[in-house]
Symmetry: C2
Subunit: 387 residues, 2 copies
């Protein structure tokens, strides 16, 4: 299949592009390189060395014999170029990763709040609009987040995959309705993904656009079977307070012998998935598109749930580094339960990589190998959720 990967230079987009190219698809990366530019502004870098795009693509050609094309387009700002790119390549599938994806970054300042809303909403609307205008009948696969749901709606029942069956009282008794699961985002970033959902629902209904929305957990891990083939193909390992996820920051703190920072009691439960499983899920989603006229298909792209303190304990046990409790900058409940329904990907054959299996590889093959380039001052989280 011909596949456009919007945001194909990023942490999820790059290994997905390689995985799909390796599987025989004709892949075109569309990116404005914004992730690299935000690094410049934040004065941070991936721990692993990220090669320029042309080097990445030439290396992939060398090791695999396969060609991935690259189109430099800002899909949020350059609508006519996006439209021309879609008309030129006539993709069967468009994978949409092209959004600002850090929750702490989205809460840093008025500028980053406004950039995140403007970029993410216009990016999504432009893609949908260009699909309608071009008449290209591509299946749109979007990377969403578990964070659209918020916590506690469904009591002890697991969070369903996107849609919730509810009862509504009427004069004739209770009636049943399937609704999009109510939203309760915890950051501006997560909020933009709740806005995306409503746009997908509208364009699916009005224009019969086929959409799959993947409600992904926190991705951990660095390498996939493709990124590991050559150091110039290596994936990002972000450890700064904005783009580094909780696990990467624990691993870095452990590596420099700094106590693992747990905010609050560490009682917040989060959903996780390894990057290797994430790219496989995307391939499964491509193989199972909704039909024209159907509402968007939603998967919970999650394989495990962990409390933050249990994650810290796992890293502490593996590395011998102690745990340090600090105030929580996020406006959220101190302790929360999280049960997630993820049966759809498991039913399609996904075999998950668990944290207990894969964590040692991260410590040995990524963190220890590249520690020479670390900037220790970037490890603490500095964004405040409220004034």
């Amino acid at each position: 299949m011909k596949i456009l990967v919007l945001g194909g230079d990023g942490f999820c987009g790059w290994p997905t592009s390689l995985h799909l190219s390796s599987a025989g698809h004709d892949v075109v990366i569309v990116d404005n390189l914004s992730r690299r530019q935000i690094d410049v502004l934040l004065e941070v870098e991936s721990l692993t060395p990220i090669a320029p795009m042309s080097t990445r693509l030439a290396t992939w050609k060398k090791v695999s014999g396969k060609t991935i094309k690259f189109e430099l387009v800002d899909i949020a700002q350059q609508y006519q170029l996006l439209l021309a790119t879609i008309k030129k390549h006539k993709p069967d599938v468009i994978i949409h990763f092209a959004e600002q994806r850090s929750a702490p970054y989205s809460m840093k300042s008025s500028y980053t709040k406004r950039y995140t809303v403007d970029n993410n909403v216009n990016a999504t609307n432009n893609v949908l609009c260009a699909l309608v205008e071009s008449g290209v009948d591509a299946h749109l696969v979007h990377l969403g987040t578990m964070g659209v749901y918020g916590y506690g709606w469904t009591g002890s029942a697991p969070i369903p995959e996107g849609y919730l069956e509810v009862g509504i009282n009427t004069p004739e008794g209770e009636i049943s309705r399937e609704i999009l699961h109510p939203a309760n985002p915890g950051s501006i970033y997560h909020m933009t993904k709740t806005l995306d959902q409503l746009m997908f629902a509208f364009y699916a209904k009005n224009d019969s656009i086929r959409v799959t929305d993947l409600h992904q957990g926190i991705v951990w891990g660095t390498q996939t079977p493709q990124t590991i083939l050559d150091e110039k193909l290596i994936n990002r390992f972000d450890y700064d307070g904005d783009y580094g996820t909780v696990l990467n920051r624990f691993l870095m703190q452990a590596a420099i012998g700094y106590p693992l920072t747990v905010h609050g009691t560490g009682g917040q439960t989060r959903a996780f998935i390894h990057i290797r499983d994430s790219v496989r899920c995307i391939e499964l989603a491509i193989k199972n598109p909704p039909k024209k006229g159907e509402k968007p298909t939603i998967f919970n792209q999650v394989t495990e749930v962990f409390r933050v303190r249990d994650l810290a304990k796992l890293v502490s046990e593996l590395t011998g580094v102690k745990i340090n409790n600090l105030p929580n900058p996020r406006n959220e409940a101190v302790e929360n339960e999280l049960k997630v329904d993820n049966h759809k990907f498991l039913a399609l054959g996904l075999k998950p990589t668990t944290l207990s299996q894969g964590l040692l590889e991260e410590v040995q093959d990524v963190v220890r190998k590249y520690m020479g380039t670390v900037d220790e001052s970037k490890i603490p989280a500095t964004s405040l959720w409220r004034k």
Copy 2:
């Protein structure tokens, strides 16, 4: 109170500004005059003669002795100017009308779809962001739409005012939750108002911004007790296929002796409110703000519901002009019921103007008086909802 009226040059914003100034408030209009500029692009005009802003304000000063200030700001594009304007005036209340408000216009082309999303989403996010950044503790009153709800969720029960009580099945039995009413918008314009709702919920929760969202029906009528004081204060009467609402187009068709155009069976039920009642509702909303930390207050700003065919019948009986049924460009059910809960404004003392009382005034004092300037070619609706 000090009140900023964003979009105070428009059809709802202008009479609201006069009403609040008349009631003794200190009113500042903030507008980019986009409504006048869209008229230029569409080559249409209000039937009633709309004076330039400086003439409007000078006339109001002359007839009332009161001063309304004007700030030329594009709130979606000029964030720093919006922020400075809020810091300068330190309003107690900000009324937010500054959105592209025509559903047919929002469906005309890729350009108008993208403009509507970009303008409306960034306008709302900028206002919320500027309230947080400035620290000004203003109550934000937003003009939303009944169109956020869609039809048919609640069976024979009326559409509640914003929030819906639902039952959710869990292993421990059914639990009850109050959720934001599910969204099912019928156009890009209506979709942007469903996005607004999620932004209000987030900023209310995260930053304790006080928000009231008014889910308004179709506004009819032209004059208020203030706009009628001098012809230079007159309000807009739009009759073109994009900005003219169904009632205004019936009135114009009747005036030129053209059969009243009913799309489909005319079985779609719509909610209505007179502009005189609309400005009173806004005043009532200002007097009844939510407390800090509460979720947004939502009112259904509606006084009557009518089927389109019954509305046509009303106009036909009043004018003697026949009815003509044409295909419906909107993607919606042929016939739908609409029951709306509007008890909150009624409980606060609103005394509605009904269509059967007020329609004759529109025919005699507005349509017949200004018919000399009509451009008959602009009356038919031309926007298509789908390719």
